[in-house]
């Protein structure tokens, strides 16, 4: 009986698993394989001809004498991506934690509505959201207009197509991912613990730093990783709000399949990005899954 049941379940689960396996897992392995192939002369790859050029060219380039010299261009793009993602995570936390806390202290019916409001932008088109920021940030745009109207002669805000614009856009795009897990951990928080802290003479600052924040730490960690990781792979925001001038990793990868026509390099960079993401996920789950149940 058990075997029959199990085989029935196998057939239920199979279509989805086989589909994702075939159209996602296999392509990912193939991408890793392409990254160690030789680049084709006219784009594409020479199937079967192996080369580590993609990984070498990540750090070195050949000069006119055919010597390898260090080339920091790509490393800079990685550093910028990490910097922008870290900055975005901090901004999202500064805005997201108070908001999650605010929502968790509201009456139940209003909470659900506020959480719904937080999630809506996530479901809207990412191009449209970033385009809306172009309308706000550009010279002569809404924010510029308001500042001028208030008498601050900006002489053109000059913020669109800068890393600041990219950072504002990234924060905007990934904010909901910060609020939701923090809210989830605050919602479970036993308010009597906070009241006990007050009764024992803690002021608000201490109650926050010694009771609420530590209890919300798993939510903060989850939120930070949910913001940081997609940020690292952001494509649309740097493309539109950075004007293509401030590439992040994803744009560099994308360009290898467009104008640069270097598929092995693109595949190698993609593989590195995927590895970074999976490693951070593993560190996260290793660190937080081992905590006792109550503190999660």
């Amino acid at each position: 009986m058990g075997n029959i049941l199990r085989s029935k379940r196998f057939w239920l689960v199979a279509p989805a698993v086989v589909y994702i396996g075939f159209f996602m897992a296999v392509p990912l392995f193939q991408m890793a394989y392409v990254s160690i192939l030789e680049r084709g002369d006219y784009g594409g790859v020479n199937w079967g001809a192996f080369s580590m050029d993609a990984y070498i060219s990540f750090i070195f380039e050949r000069d006119l004498m055919d010597n390898l010299v260090v080339n920091t261009d790509y490393l800079q793009i990685f550093a910028r991506s990490f910097g922008l993602s870290a900055m975005t995570t901090v901004f999202a936390l500064l805005l997201g934690f108070p908001t999650a806390f605010y929502i968790s202290t509201q009456p139940q019916s209003r909470r659900n509505f506020l959480i719904f409001l937080v999630t809506i932008p996530f479901w809207t088109n990412i191009l449209v959201r970033n385009y809306a920021w172009m309308l706000l940030l550009r010279n002569g745009g809404l924010i510029d207009g308001v500042l001028n109207w208030m008498g601050l002669e900006t002489g053109g805000l000059d913020i669109l197509y800068t890393p600041y614009a990219v950072s504002i856009g990234l924060t905007y795009t990934y904010l909901p991912f910060m609020v939701l897990p923090i809210y989830a951990s605050l919602e479970k928080l036993d308010h009597r613990l906070v009241e006990a802290a007050f009764d024992l003479g803690a002021d608000k600052r201490r109650a926050m730093s010694r009771v609420i924040l530590p209890l919300a730490a798993p939510g903060i960690a989850a939120g930070s990783i949910l913001v940081f990781i997609p940020c690292l792979g952001a494509y649309v925001t740097p493309e539109l709000l950075g004007g293509g001038k401030f590439m992040m990793i994803a744009n560099l990868i994308g360009s290898q399949f467009g104008a640069a026509r270097n598929w092995p390099l693109g595949a190698g960079l993609g593989f590195v990005l995927l590895a970074l993401v999976l490693i951070s996920m593993m560190i996260y789950s290793f660190k937080f899954k081992s905590l006792p149940e109550e503190s999660r």
Partner: protein, 264 residues
């Protein structure tokens, strides 16, 4: 946390104002975009009067309509495929534990973990290696992958809350599996299925990065078309098209959430 919000002890300085700022930040761009799409002025940001002209211009643009049609074809195909696969998978996963369950779960949410750009180029390379011509078909195949988890999660959640005794009772009353599914499981599960289907539809409709890399000539979807328009410049037509996309997404998600809250 159940707190008495009127108790001043629960008022921390800066919390309410930050939350207000948060919601303003979240909705300002959306409100501004929709407002400007009705602005008569060609130079987009100065308000000179109300007009629907840009919507008329946008809706009479053949290229845009073709792109919209492609988007809808892709979204419907991917949604149907993903929802069927996800419903079956959710049912398979709901009956107790089994060996390899963790691996199967991980596989079902894998598309949510992999960065979009990586999925996009890996899928592109895969289709090129297989010699499949890039077009609507490749876009549909690729969309189905990331639609599966979006359909799966609400269906799974719904099943989780369902009493397994109901199906057992049906079986005891001599219903075969198909009958038990059709007469017991499905009527209870449909809000989950519908909500999952609507979420995958909207996720597919809104996707840009994967369609951009996996598509070819003739498979321009609406987001790709909008991207092309934005590249050329900020125009009132872009505002109108964008506002329409926003509204479609918001309406769909709202309906999906309402369906999801229907009680058993």
């Amino acid at each position: 946390m159940k707190v008495d919000a009127s108790n001043p002890l629960w008022r921390f300085r800066g919390i309410t104002s930050t939350a207000m700022f948060f919601f303003a930040y979240l909705y300002l761009p959306i409100v501004v975009l929709i407002a400007l799409s009705f602005n008569e002025n060609r130079l987009a940001t100065i308000w000179t009067g109300f007009t629907m002209d840009w919507y008329v211009t946008a809706l009479s643009n053949d290229d845009m309509l073709r792109a919209a049609q492609n988007s809808i074809v892709v979204a419907i195909s991917a949604t149907v495929l993903a929802t069927i696969a996800a419903t079956l998978a959710a049912m398979g996963m709901s009956r107790g534990r089994f060996k390899g369950e963790a691996g199967v779960s991980a596989m079902l949410v894998l598309p949510l973990l992999v960065p979009e750009i990586v999925t996009a180029i890996a899928t592109l390379l895969f289709f090129v290696a297989l010699g499949i011509k890039l077009g609507l078909l490749t876009v549909i195949l690729a969309h189905t992958v990331f639609c599966i988890p979006f359909a799966y999660l609400p269906i799974r959640a719904r099943l989780e809350g369902m009493d397994p005794a109901l199906v057992e009772a049906a079986n005891d009353l001599y219903a075969n599996d198909w009958k038990a599914f059709r007469r017991v499981t499905l009527p209870l599960l449909w809000p989950g299925i519908l909500s999952g289907a609507m979420l995958s539809f909207i996720i597919s409709l809104d996707d840009f990065v994967i369609s951009y890399f996996v598509g070819g000539a003739g498979s321009t979807t609406l987001p790709i078309y909008i991207f092309g328009m934005i590249r050329i410049g900020i125009t009132p037509e872009v505002n109108a098209v964008s506002a329409m996309m926003l509204i479609v997404s918001i309406v769909f998600v709202s309906i999906s959430f309402m369906i999801d809250r229907i009680r058993y």
